[in-house]
Amino acid sequence: MTQYLFYLLSFIAVFCGILVVTSKSPVNSVLYLILTFFAIAGHYVLLNAQFLAAVHVIVYAGAIMVLFLYVIMMMNFNKNAEPSKTPTTQLIACIAGGLLLVTMVGALRVTGTLPVTPTGLKGTGLVENLGKVLFKEFLLPFEISSLLFLAAMTGVVMLGKKNSN
């Protein structure tokens, strides 16, 4: 059962990922990317990372992709369709990307499996356990990330202001 779910979710993720790259309209790309993110959230549930699955759906599908859709609809691309790159550039891009993929897959094929010693904590991905780890061992990075958000927020407001000239 879990195997079939894994293969189904992997197929959805890869198929929609390809459609993100190939679809002509940016709005379609965003919608396929949302489907990919939901498939990845399903993977997180399969991997017993329930809290991360919830956060992933809320942050990515809820916030980031809505931001993307909002910006795309504000920009109104329908008048001038995006010109595609020249066939030579496309061929070179395909070869380069394909070579990277072949290299990674080939390197993974010869990798041996790790000797694993699970610490055997039940419910690793639940809020209780993650919160303990986050606020005990990762307290300083957590606080620094709040600084990062403050800087990003002020930066976005600065960037988004209309120029006076």
């Binding site: 993100v20 980031i64 995006e82 993929l101 010693t117 699970p118 990003a152 976005v156």
Partner: protein, 105 residues
């Protein structure tokens, strides 16, 4: 080394590699800056998936906390990047990356 029943960690390695490759291909192929941005998000998610898979395989929560931080950084990055793209669109009237190859008018 099985993560789920019947699924080894190598399957997750392969899936993440394929998703990352699709993201790289999108960045190389497309000219629309917003779609390039989305492909970067796809690459980040491939890495996140791999981190979660290894965290589950080792029964360790630190990998999942790391994914949490990557999500936070990605959210900030998307906000700043989309603001920059909006400014570019406002000034040049397009988000084609070929327009931006000089970085000045």
């Amino acid at each position: 080394m099985q993560v789920l029943s019947g699924i080894s960690i190598n399957a997750y390695l392969l899936l993440s590699a394929v998703l990352f490759g699709i993201g790289v291909l999108g960045v190389l192929l497309r000219r629309n800056a917003i779609i390039i941005f989305m492909c970067i998000e796809l690459m980040l998610n491939a890495i996140n998936l791999l981190l979660v898979a290894f965290a589950t395989a080792f029964g360790d929560a630190q990998g999942q906390v790391f994914v949490f931080f990557i999500m936070a950084v990605a959210a900030a990055e998307v906000a700043v990047g989309l603001a920059i793209l909006t400014m570019i669109y406002r000034n040049t009237g397009s988000v084609d990356i070929e327009v931006l190859n000089k970085l000045k008018n």
